[in-house]
Each structure stands twice: as C-alpha cells, then as structure tokens.
Symmetry: C2
Subunit: 366 residues, 2 copies
C-alpha cells in the first residue's frame, strides 16, 4: 500500500494534506501543531452537528450576505445552463435528458467558486461565466455516469429518479458524453464570452483553463477517484488512509480545484495568485469530504430515532473510522485554517465569497 | 418525418449532400447531373467489389506512395498515443484499459486526414500532431461506449475482445470518459506542441480547434448520430433517406470533418481554405458510409459461398436498400467527385495525400 500514497501514485503533484502524525494515528509531538486549531474547529463541528450555525449568522459578522450571494450566482449560472441546451431541437431525447440532468437543481457550489475566484483576482464575472457553466456540466456528467447500474447503481439523485431510470441506460451514457463535450464546446466558443474581451490575452487564458478542466476529469482526476473507489467497494479490508485521501483528492477535490483555478486564470490572475487559490481549493476539497464523514457519525450518534449513519451501516471507510472523531475534527479544522490562510494575501472584501464558501463547506449539514 | 431532414433537424448547418432527385427516388431531369460522373465511379465500385484496385496502382499514376504515407503517419501517431498514457502509473486498471482500447491498431484514417489538412494549407505537421492524436482518442471513446452491453453490445472489435469484455463495464464507461477528457487535455497542453510555435497565433488556433472537436462529439455530432441510430434499431419501419443521412452525417462524417478542419486551423489555413476542406471532409464522410453499404450488398451477391451481407441479414436500412444499387453508386460517385473538386484550389502535390485518402475511402474493401 505504500506505493499508493497519493504523492507517489498520482501524476498530479499534490502536497500531503494529512500531517504525518495523523496518518500514523499517534498523539505524538507533531500532533501538537493541531492543538492551536482544535478549539475553534471542534466548536464549529460540534455546533454544526447539534444545531448548525446558519450562514446568516456568519454573514452578520462581516456584512456579507452569503445566502443572497449564492442565490444570485446560482440563478445566473442556471440561466447560462438553460441557454446552452436547446429544449425543442432534435435529437429531442438527448436534449431532454441533458436538460433533466443539468437543470435538476443543486447549490451550484462549483460555479460559485469559479466566479468568486475570477472576481478575487480582479476579473469580470462575465469572463468566467462560460467556465462556471462548464464545471457544472462536468460535475453533472460525473453524477450521471456514477449513478449507472454498472457503477454505483443509484436510482435517486436530489430526490428525483436518476437519468438512466427516466431515459434508459444507453441515453444516460450518451448524456454524460454529450455534457462532457458540451463543457469544452461552451468554453471554447467565442460567443460564450462578452464582446469586449481582450482578444490578445483571452485565447491563451482559455487554452490554459481548458487544460485545467480536462486534467481534473480523467486519469488524474474524477475518473481516477471513481476507479479506485470502485476497487474498494465490497472489499472487507479497511481502506488505508493514504488511499482514502487519494480517492477524495481525485473524486471530490480535483473538480473543486479546477473550478477555482479556472476562474482565476480567466480573471487574469498572476501565477502566484493562481497557486494560492489552488491550495485554498485543495484544502476545501478535502474539507468537504472530512466534514461529510464527521456529520455522518455525529448525526447517527446524536440524533436518536433516526437511521444510523449510512457510512457506518455500509461499513464504508471514513476519516472518523480511521483517525477517530477527535482527530478528524482536528484535521478538518486544520484544512479550514489552511484555506483561510491562502486568502490572506487578497483584498478581504473581494475575498469574502471564497472565505464564506470555505465556512459553508465546514458548517454545512448535508 | 419531414421535420427530421438534416437541414431542419441539425443545429449544424449542413448543405444537402443528396440531390433532390435521388431523394425522391426518381430518374428525373435533375438526375442527369449524375450521369457525367457515373461511368468513372461505377467502374471504381464494380472493380472494388470484384477485385479492388490496389492503392499501389493508383500511386503509380501520380508518384505518390499512399501505403508508405499511411504507414509513416500511423507510426508517428501511434508513438504520440503511446506516450500520452503512462503504462506503469496508477490507477493501473484505468491506464491499462485506455491503452488497450487506444493502441489496438486501426488504420488511423482520422489522424492522417488531420495531418494532411495541416500540410495542405502550408502548416508544419508537428503543429497538428496533438490534434491527430486527439481525434483518434475521440474515435476510440465512441467505439468503447458504442460497444457497451447497453448499446450495440459488441464483444469483438478489430478481432479482439472489446474493452468491457476484458475490463468490465464500469471500467469501460470510465475509459471512454478518460479518453474523451484526455483528448482535450492533450490539445490544450502547451508541451504537446513544438517549442517554436508562434505564441501570438497559436492559442487562438487551439481554442478554435478545440471548439470544432467538442462540437463534433455531442448533440451536434457523434452522440446525436448514435441516439438516432439507437432509436431506429429494432424498428420494423424503413428509415427514411433523410434520417439515414442524418445518422451518417453525425455518426461518421462529423468526426472526419472535425479531423480535417482542425488540421487546417492549426496549420494556419485561411477561412476560405478551411471551408473548402470542410466540404471535402463532409463529402468523404458520407462517401465512407455509402461505400460501406454498397460493398455489403455487392459482396453478398457476388461472393457466393459466403454469409450474406450483414446489413441485409439484419434488415438494416442502407443506401442500396433505399436508392437501389445503381443510384447509390451514382451518389457515391458524385461525393467522390465533389471531394476532389474541393481540392482543386490547392497545390496538387501537397494535396496528394487528401486526394488519395478520398480515393482510398472509395476503393476500400472494408
């Protein structure tokens, strides 16, 4: 398993996010570095589990209305997505299935990250809107294919029957393919962008952004994560921590990272800014998954009368299972702290959306 | 069915390739325009069916060695494809399946078209090599997904077990996704190109080329063709001619068109050159399918002792079934003639590969 450490295994050069002490499961000296973050994050997670801090409360402290921000961005992205697929042109079955999968709701976290990253480096939101739509297309493609009978075999998604249940398996496979190619078409089309873009700089940025998007999908991203996740499914072995991190860095964090980085590239960010935002995104990507795992455990133990946590029931390997709840909270706290730190070099007012998105991922209930 | 004419149905603005007279199945006055081409093409197809003119014979007449050209291009493209996917890096199962599907042989017609189109507009071959590899990745993706049990359910491809037979269905779906994203990654990566590319012009060409590639895959290309083809499968109805043309223009011609157009874009072709080559490609794309259909019929009727044509056996709608053999030959002849005509404005020596590729598609036996 040593050969499967994400640093060795992945072609993406990702710095280790889990400190050595946590990986060894010891409470050694290195673990002391967590202590400074422990108080804050334990409070966050404990409160989230028992009675979540509503986003509005966090907003009150900074004057930034996170809910309004997310609502406004989701509406704009939904308009772009709606316009990207004709409702009444043939092949009707395909377009209908693409629209069904893509316009099924969702919080549009990835597009919001993309738009916020464009803004934080001083770019206009319209420059990143095609990319914001594109990352949601890629996310939807991965959901449609992961839900297939031969994969995770899920019948429900966001409370609605999944694409293959409604349209059949062949159309679901093809819907994913079409959404994936549409994401690149949408980003490459000149008419996706406002007419006053800088014609000298724009194409180079688009090429770089498309490279980032493409890289996060295949054998260095989403697909790699799904392949390793499938390999673990049904195994009675406990997944080693480094493999768990590999799965999450690829299956969850890679597209969050691409969303942020692409926004920053299209916004005209410097290489230094782009790399800070990449580290921010990588931290919140893994935070997303750690909090997921923590919520599953804390809910099952604290909310009596409800079904025990899905992960526990399916004996799935989670951070709390491998590290214990306390160390998982410390790790999550460290990730949130790291993400915030990466934003410290930006103007705090324009960085507010990214800061609140990190908080949202830490505070969220589902 | 009238609403399904490709001109009305497709978002791609494609000029009609089948003249009205042929579509009506009449031998009216308009059909007279075929007559001038009939003699040459009937001879070609009849000869091809009975005893094909070897490519070497055609080569002798022009001094161009088509077989040597194709062998050299295929070898170069295979090297690029081989280098694009690491053999020994995780996730091993995915990389192995991607290499299995991609390096299974094949004539590499699409990459050859891409490289030849780059050269005919005066571009260096190295500028189009990443795109030549990319179009083969897209072609392979479409084969892997089309072969899936829920689609055409094919167990053999080029004489070898198909991807899902060897690696299982989940890996086959993911292999297609990874190849599709790799194609865009490969085209977008700066290090795919020679170091002396023109940094001022290159990104704009790459963005335009990526847009062409992406467009030919989804609901305006390959996927659209497969969806409509699946809708026809198992139906006892005869497919109307316009729908047959829609399927072939999308399922076969779209990627051939993109291969040629992308090569011309990356080679720095003018808009006028690119559009001539687009029309050339569209003609040979449909020619490819018409000749396929003709060979299926002529083989079954002329080669006694062999299984009757697959298309006849499966009652599949073909051009000979709809138009009759004679009119199908006329149509094929017209398509070859149209393709040649589009090359007339180019230097005939540099256009030789494209000319011979058109001949190859008309003359080929499988």
């Amino acid at each position: 398993m040593a050969a499967f450490h994400p640093l060795a295994a992945s072609r993406v050069r990702i710095s280790p996010l889990i400190p050595a002490a946590a990986m060894a499961g010891t409470a050694g000296a290195a673990a002391a570095s967590y202590a400074q973050h422990r108080r804050r994050f334990c409070a966050i997670v404990a409160t989230a589990a028992a009675s979540p801090v509503p986003a509005a409360a966090a907003a009150a402290a900074t004057g930034f209305d996170f809910n309004a921000y997310m609502g406004e961005k989701a509406a704009a992205v939904n308009r772009a997505l709606d316009a990207s697929i004709p409702a009444d042109e043939p092949p009707a079955a395909l377009h209908e299935a693409m629209r069904y999968a893509l316009l099924a709701g969702g919080k549009r976290v990835r597009p919001a990250l993309c738009l916020a990253a464009c803004a934080v480096v001083g770019g206009r939101e319209a420059w990143a809107m095609p990319a914001a739509a594109a990352v949601e297309m890629v996310h939807t493609m991965s959901l449609v294919h992961d839900d297939l009978p031969c994969m995770d075999d899920d019948d429900l998604r966001r409370g609605k029957p999944t694409c293959h249940v409604v349209y059949g398996e062949p159309i679901a496979v093809l819907t994913g393919d079409a959404l994936l190619s549409l994401s690149f078409h949408h980003m490459a089309r000149f008419d996706s962008y406002p007419p006053d873009i800088d014609a000298d700089k724009h194409p180079a940025r688009v090429v770089r952004a498309i490279g980032e998007l493409a890289r996060c999908i295949g054998s260095e991203g989403l697909v790699a994560g799904q392949v390793v996740d499938l390999e673990m499914t049904g195994s009675t072995e406990t997944v080693p921590l480094e493999r768990l991190e590999y799965i999450h860095l690829h299956k969850t964090a890679a597209l969050l990272e691409a969303s942020v980085v692409i926004g920053a590239i299209l916004g005209g960010g410097s290489d230094e800014q782009i790399e800070s935002l990449r580290m921010y995104a990588r931290s919140i990507g893994l935070l997303f998954q750690v909090v997921d795992d923590i919520l599953d455990v804390t809910k099952s133990s604290e909310e009596l009368g409800k079904t025990a946590g899905k992960d526990l029931a399916s004996d799935k390997t989670t951070y709390p299972k491998l590290l214990g709840l306390e160390k998982s909270r410390e790790f999550a706290e460290k990730l949130l702290s790291d993400a915030r730190e990466q934003l410290s070099g930006f103007d705090q007012e324009t960085a507010a959306p990214l800061l609140h998105l990190a908080n949202y991922i830490a505070y969220r209930q589902n």
